[in-house]
């Protein structure tokens, strides 16, 4: 009959086998973190996995201080150093981590953070040293791949906004071995040759894809450039070191182009507006002066000697007419009066009085006889009737006082 063992015996046995294996005492394992749990005890439990397998891991609190300088997150690619042993209670083996460091993209991220900190400390990102962009650039140097979406986007944006801006493309490697140095070279080339703005960029990609824009030589080239540099790399969210260093950061290469190139049609419109404004002002001014001139002309004309003469002549005619009228009136009035007197005279004429039995007496010498005292006895005098005369002789003179 075979010997029968307990579970504990077996687990303990296996534990001893693990412990005695030299390779398992200190081993480096690369894998992706999953099921990561920071336990309240301070220990961290997680699983390392690759495409085919997974491995339980634990990092005890006492190892964290010296062995882990970032926060573990699911999905991180890490390299864990530690020993593999058996947890007898569960009959499971696991990796007891001593140190954990980021690998691959994770490593890049760490390098990125390090360089970012360093360059920030050196003042590479200071807002005060950002160069202003020219408002109306005429030449733009572009450092990007000769093939790819970035340059096509830039070309179409430029064609739409301002086809008159001269674009230069410095074909650079934007990914892989030697990419950073061609980008830096391109920046230096344009800075030396003299363009108004430099755009560097590439389309989106993973952190590895964008890595060239996170390298020190690119940062240095941007930092040293006297020409404003716009960086448009990758995605909206991910910022590269180049983005931080650049004078202006755009989310994408085509956005960088939009920022660099002013809309020529708005410039043309602006020019039209200025022309209108100028013409309107000068038209107003000349009109104003013209109307002023007109006023003066009228004033001057009003005071012209000829005009004065004319006015005086008119005045004269007025006076003459008035005089004539006055004279005419006077004449008419006089005529009326004459008529009136004529009638009155007629009424008073002696012959008029001789109607109704009255006669008029006069001496031979035609002196009117108004008193009896003018005649003597036997004197011949004349009585005038209305329709003839008679010579008569006074036969007896009787005076009033005699009666």
């Amino acid at each position: 009959m075979n010997h029968i063992f307990t579970v504990s015996q077996l687990n303990s046995y296996i534990h001893r086998i693990f412990e005695s294996d030299y390779a398992l005492r200190m081993i480096h394992i690369k894998g992706e973190i999953s099921n990561c749990k920071y336990h309240s005890s301070g220990h961290i439990y997680f699983t390392l996995k690759d495409a085919r397998s997974s491995l339980k891991c634990v990092m005890f609190l006492q190892n964290r201080a010296g062995g882990l300088d970032f926060r573990l997150e699911n999905g991180q690619l890490v390299i864990v150093a530690g020993h593999v042993s058996v947890f007898e209670r569960d009959g499971a083996y696991q990796l007891y981590a001593k140190t954990i460091s980021l690998a691959g993209a994770g490593l890049l991220y760490q390098k990125f953070e390090q360089l970012k900190k360093e360059l920030a400390g050196l003042g590479y990102f200071d807002q005060t040293r950002k160069k202003p962009l020219p408002s109306y650039p005429r030449t733009i140097g572009i450092v990007t791949a000769v093939t790819g979406a970035a340059i096509e986007d830039i070309k179409s944006v430029a064609a739409r906004r301002n086809p008159y801006v001269q674009l230069y493309l410095y074909p650079a490697k934007v990914q892989g071995e030697g990419a950073a140095s061609t980008i830096a070279e391109g920046i230096r080339f344009f800075d030396h040759y003299g363009v108004d703005v430099i755009i560097i960029g590439r389309g989106g990609g993973s952190m590895e894809d964008l890595w060239a824009f996170n390298e020190r030589i690119v940062a240095d080239a941007i930092y040293d450039a006297h020409t404003p540099v716009i960086s448009g790399t990758g995605h909206e969210i991910d910022m590269t070191i180049a983005d931080y260093c650049a004078d202006l950061r755009a989310p994408t290469p085509s956005a960088a182009c939009e920022l660099a190139i002013p809309d020529v049609f708005s410039i043309l419109q602006q020019l039209d507006r200025y022309q209108d404004a100028l013409e309107q002002r000068i038209f107003y001014k000349t009109n104003q002066v013209r109307s002023q001139l007109d006023t003066y002309r009228k004033l001057l004309l009003a005071n012209h000697p000829g005009t004065r003469l004319e006015r005086q002549r008119t005045q004269l005619i007025l006076y003459r007419d008035r005089l004539n009228t006055l004279i005419d009136n006077q004449m008419t009035r006089t005529a009326h009066r004459l008529e009136f007197y004529g009638e009155k005279l007629t009424a008073l004429s002696p012959s008029m009085r001789l109607r109704g039995g009255y006669v008029f007496a006069q001496k031979k010498d035609e002196t009117p006889i108004s008193s009896v005292n003018q005649i003597e006895d036997k004197e011949i005098f004349t009585l005038i009737f209305k329709d003839g005369r008679a010579d008569v002789e006074s036969r007896k003179i009787i005076k009033e006082e005699d009666r």
Binding site: L169, Q270, R281
Partner: protein, 80 residues
């Protein structure tokens, strides 16, 4: 670049000043005529500066010994 003696930016600033001056009610006629002429000249210059010829992108090419050949030299373009 220092070779840019004339810039649209400066021209626009100056045009603003000219228009402002033209709007002064008591400006003399000869002054206003001079300002107007100056403004028109500036506008002409702006239009000339705009150099309305469509540009093709120039792709610089890396020759031997790492030298850069190019179809046109951006530094020599003095028409701007």
């Amino acid at each position: 670049m220092a070779k840019n003696k004339f810039s649209l930016e400066d021209a626009f600033k100056e045009l603003d000043l000219i228009i402002e001056a033209l709007e002064q009610p008591d400006i003399r006629l000869d002054d206003s005529m001079n300002l107007y002429k100056k403004g028109v000249k500036l506008l002409e210059k702006c239009n000339l500066t705009l150099d309305k010829t469509e540009k093709e992108i120039i792709v610089l090419q890396e020759g031997q010994n790492g030298n850069i050949d190019q179809q046109a030299d951006p530094g020599k373009d003095e028409s701007y």
